[in-house]
Symmetry: C2
Subunit: 154 residues, 2 copies
């Protein structure tokens, strides 16, 4: 982990890649891992080259994300008034070979992501609860309350 | 589901793809699904173009597989003496857009898969137990006890 400061409640852990000439095996989440909480839903979000999916904030659901295909810029914004890291903006890259990691995003934190490079990226999410449509808030990528300029930086 | 006959204990269910001009969202497994059993481990197996990963048989673990990226030929071989479908060989394709499905493979069934097409495929597995190295059996792809000729058909 190259970053020493992450928003309160966020975790970033290296994941094992078992290389094989036929194609690698990539670990994601085990029920007997020390940091495993519970399984709610596994799904994938594809992001096409140059596209952005932002912003989203869950009220109760915790996200556990990894990027097995392609490359993602992930931005986290902590506007939680009671947080020890309130106001913090963190920009991460996720993807192989150097950043195949599991990112845990707790409820209450804003996040968004964009595809870097010229191949579609795939984000896998093992969330701790199944999707509920009324459990999250969204803002447009260019919302002026959000301290990140996607267009200038992606 | 275009196939009427699958080996005993095997299930194949269509999964929802929510299309989006930025990149699709692909469902995989929810804990509140009628057919959900339990979560053990989520991992990914990449298969490079023209490569084959075969054969494997788990003793206790159930596999729940889907192919969000690329295209896979999956072969199942039922040599369980007590099975109603003993001797059956089933060849399936998995992948988008027409075959984005969750394949459940029970313990005791042999399976193998190969990458079709010219892009690496990604298989996601939400197994019902975490990986244990001594819980599965393997045979080489060209094992002459297995009634499928990979080289001729992939």
């Amino acid at each position: 982990m190259e970053r020493t400061s992450l928003p309160q409640g966020v975790a970033l852990v290296s994941l094992r890649v078992i290389t094989d000439e036929r194609g690698s095996v990539l670990q994601m989440l085990r029920c007997d891992a020390a940091d495993f909480e519970q399984f709610g839903e596994c799904y994938f979000s594809e992001v096409l080259p140059g596209r952005i999916k932002a912003w989203k904030r869950h009220r109760t659901q915790t996200q556990n994300l990894a990027v097995p295909v392609g490359r993602i810029r992930m931005v986290l914004f902590d506007d939680r008034a009671a947080s020890a890291t309130a106001g913090q903006v963190v920009v991460l890259e996720l993807g192989r070979p150097d950043a195949y990691r599991r990112l845990t995003i707790p409820p209450g934190l804003w996040y968004g992501f964009g595809c870097l490079g010229n191949v579609p990226a795939l984000i896998a999410n093992c969330a701790d609860a199944p999707h509920q449509p009324d459990e999250s808030d969204t803002r447009p990528a260019d919302d002026n309350r959000m301290p990140h300029e996607w267009c200038a930086q992606l």
